[in-house]
Amino acid sequence: MTFIALGYADLVIASLLLLFSGALSIFLKLGLERQIGLAALRMVIQLMLIGMVLKFLFQMVSPLWTGVAAAIMIGLAGREIMARQKRKFTGWWTYGLGTSSLMIACTIVTVLALTTQIRPDPWFDPRFALPILGMILGNTMNGVSIGLERLLSSAVDGRTVIEARLALGHDRTQAMKPLIRDSIRAGLINIINAMSAAGVISLPGMMTGQILAGVDPTEAVKYQILILFLIAGSTALGTLSAVMFAARRLTDSRHRLRLDRLGPIRP
């Protein structure tokens, strides 16, 4: 099998579908045509730019530039986590917690995969390092974001219960344990579902991409299994650390619930 290259005319034809959606929105007075158009434009510009950036990075094969790109990706993912929270810690805590959890989890898992399983030469080769990091990062970001959101909102809603336990002499770990457990579970549910559905209900994107690029399906499947293991490991590690750190920040050394460390609720 060979790789079939796409021309710009092919993309124009595909974009007709989008025009159809926009027309439908105007016809049905949904008011979505502007949003659809802007999102599509943003997607095209972002992907074209990243295509050029990746081409530059792949040519450089520099540990410095690869590191800079990875740091920017992690920083932006941390910002996205913060933006998704309805409740946030005051100051930079939410950004710090989200970003540091992502950094710890994604760096450990990506470096592990590059040095022990995929083993490109050099190990930091951006052609391997950045796509692997990107896939792991996107999924871990979702887990961390959902886990933090669940923890912070349920601490506010469950204040009476937590404080009843603290007042009875339970320590902060005992009082927060059910919330921590629920939050970690919520953060992991997407990757658990993705693994359960893989190959039966859905054909995962990476595997499909490799098959379209001409790779033998059994080889593509091996890569997909590896990636799902990496994503699951990183999501678990990232969500666990973010939720545990956040639970610590929500309480203090005198085992008090510190909701005063949260900012106002975002509408």
Binding site: V161, I162, E163, A167, G169, R256, D260
Partner: protein
């Protein structure tokens, strides 16, 4: 002996108060004056400054969970984390004895929490705190949702605790209740505590 010196925190203080074993202090005051915040500060549930000592032991030197087992705060509306009443008590035998004292039988252990009335929750919340035999009880309107019979039952139980040497600080708007509990009365306004006239 509970000794409170210069206790201050969010919207309260500085407050000084001394209670010997078996003393009862009844606190009244307008809504928002800081009555609940005062009780929470003694229990160390909110950040606060000042010294609180129990039998000469400074609170600062005692781990917070241990302090709260000795100085137990019962909120006006307390929380429940499990499905059944019995799941909130570790010592089932002691729980049964306590349930009898608050006018509920052993069967209450199997009751589902969402089906409890406000008054039942109030009595059970008090029982849950008293079972550990704290040295000080901090009670925030503990009988506000009770009918006369059950209120008398709880007051009788508190009187027994008082006779056994437990100090009690109770927030109540009921002047007669303060008299029945032989309490010293205080008024808390704008975060400041004063002996009631």
């Amino acid at each position: 002996m509970l000794s409170i010196r210069n206790l201050s925190g969010n919207r309260i203080g500085p407050i000084d108060l001394k209670l010997a074993g078996g003393d009862v202090a009844a606190i009244s005051g307008p809504s928002g004056a800081g009555k609940s915040l005062f009780l929470r500060a003694i229990a160390d549930l909110d950040p606060n400054d000042g010294n609180v000592l129990l039998d000469g032991d400074d609170r600062a030197g005692i781990p917070a969970p241990e302090w709260r087992r000795r100085v137990s705060y019962v909120a006006a509306e307390t929380g429940w984390w499990a499905e059944r009443v019995g799941d909130h008590f570790q010592d089932k035998r002691a729980a049964i004895q306590m349930l009898e004292l608050i006018g509920l039988g052993e069967s209450a252990l199997d009751w589902s929490i969402p089906r409890l009335s406000t008054g039942e929750k109030q009595r059970l919340g008090l029982a849950r705190s008293m079972i550990g035999k704290p040295r000080v009880l901090l009670l925030d309107e503990p009988t506000s949702a009770l009918d006369t019979d059950n209120r008398n039952l709880i007051e009788h139980l508190l009187d027994e605790c008082r006779s056994a040497g437990t100090s009690i600080i109770i927030v109540t708007h009921d002047v007669e209740q303060a008299e029945r509990l032989k309490a010293r009365t205080y008024r808390l306004e704008a975060g400041k505590l004063q002996a009631a006239p």
